[in-house]
Amino acid sequence: MFEVRFHGRGGQGAVMAAQTLAEAAVIEGYHAHAFPFFGAERRGAPVMAFARIDDKKISIKSQVYEPDLLIVLDESLLDIEPVARGMKKDGKAVINTRKLPMELDLGIEVDCATVNATSIALEFLKAPIVNTAILGAVAKATGIVSMDSMNKAIRNRFGEKFGEAAANANIGAAAAAYEQTVIGRCKGKRPLKAKREWLPDWDQLPMGTALSEGSIDAVMVGPGGARQNLTGTWRVQTPRYDKEKCVRCLRCWFSCPEGCIKRDEDDHVHWDLNYCKGCGICAQVCPVKAIDMIKGGQK
């Protein structure tokens, strides 16, 4: 059995990539399945998806803990998630990055393929949805499915959902990635740090469902938990504020779903970029276009 784990950010198409890989494998006559890590998916948040391929019926439905193939759709995850955790020593990695395999450190030294899927996606799809480009790299790096089957799977899934033109653009992205993929070996020096999680024993859990602030040493749980969970790291676009144009109507301040727009004494505003997810609602509601969104998650 061949087990695959995808790491990406919400909106990059990791789930669709896993499903398309499974469909390509079925087209080749294998058994396959694919599923997302089941959580509250949000644009920009780290997400996972899984796939399995085998020549007989796959009965296991557990998550993938020891992948043969690791696929990373967003290089920035290498610094915030232990993506290579549990990876097999003879496994392979496919990473979306501008770097060469030898310039990357995954924390485990394995066969590694790199491709600049973001620039390919921007060229073919006009959006940083890198899933089909990465699939081209997967076909090249692993040979687990042929490009022919991959194209058919892309046509089935994307054509059905988004139409013929979208299918062709995605097939184009996969083909370009197949050509541009560089195969080598990555470094394995980076320590894979454990995720900071609050996992008390059953008899240490507070009674009921009420969590007091003092009792929490958590990332995601309880009041105050957000102080450690800097959701601003998910941001792929950042608001730019033109104070001169601002008419101090405070619509942005009122509309921000994260409450990260702060009101100054004179009713100008500023952003707490530790928590701004880059949704762009502030730019949308501004009546005088004093806010626009610029690419990238920079501060």
């Binding site: 499903q19 499974a22 469909e23 079925v26 058994h31 396959a32 399945h33 694919a34 599923f35 997302p36 089941f38 509250a40 796959i58 009965s59 296991i60 439905k61 557990s62 998550q63 803990y65 089935n156 996992l199 008390p200 024993d201 059953w202 008899d203 240490q204 469902t209």
Partner: protein
Amino acid sequence: MKVKVISADHAVAYGAKLARTEVVPAFPITPQTLIVEQLAEFINDGEMDADFITAESEHSAMSIGIGASAGGVRVFTATSSQGLALMHEMIYAVPQNRLPIVMVNVNRSLGAGAGIWVEYNDSMAERDSGWLQMYVEDNQEALDAILMAFRLAEDRRVMLPVMVCLDGFILSHTVEKVEIMEQEEVDRFLPKYEPLHKLDPAEPMLINPIVPPEYAMEMRYQLDRAVDHSRDVIKEVDAEFAKAFGRSYGGLIDTYQMEDAEFAMLTLGTATGLARGIVDELRKDGKKAGLIKLRFMRPFPFKELCQATKGLKALGVFDRSASFNGGGPVHTEVAAALCNVPVMVTGHIAGIGGRDVTPDHMRQMYDVVERASKGEKVRQVTWHGLRGKME
């Protein structure tokens, strides 16, 4: 026949379409939503001739279903968790009115301690309602179950609603290979629904009247007998299905490597696939491990379990929900069924609130049962994957 790589939710929608469902009353709830979205699309695209009725709540969705079914048409709906709980009052009205509605419950934990992930505490709470209740293991079985469920529900010896339960997310959102049969084949297996009664203004009739003590007891006994009669029909329908489509799932239970087994697990839902793999592992090591798959929680397979456990020394029972009385609901019923059989029965609770049930958890379950089979004293009930020491 077409082969598609789809989720169990979509497979279920194909099943309801192939069954020529005529009315779909529904209210969306995660992780059931993909089912009703797909059905709405089929109807909108003209691929399915049915009325999709959006209700303002699940209570209303089932009420609409009752009205439509009493009007003589084939009704399908789907829900999950809190939605099923909100339906509770109407759930009880369906079996006693002998309306053959088929509903999918995509299992999801019932709050508080609310989550969107799989747990069986939603459907287990409805097991005494008079609905037949089945659990499926994979996406193909999910589709096939819809067709078998209608055939079973509408059989004149049964005339009862069927609830098809499937694991939230683990099945509902996982894509895998599913064979979609041709309409003509399905039409032969599942002919047009012929209602027993039909609400018709031209022939006035009263349904669901208040029932005084003079009649209630006989009505309940009739219902009890109908559920009992469904046992034979379930086996017949499976045989007919195998004849038509070449796939057989067994009757109330299915067994794997039970012929010479000394210890075994009984599982339901997706844990069955996982257990099958662990049985293969144990068999390679020369251990006589077996597996019983529980397909139907209602009717409960009392006789079948007594037969299947002949010669078995220990049986572990997997539960994906707790009764808060020391064990899980499936364990309690299995223990009752086997009280006159010399087999040690233990309970194994895992996967609560959607926690991943891993191969290691299943190995631990088999380990406990194997030790019990050798006469070792083991825990009556074990929670696998629990943090902290059990009391």
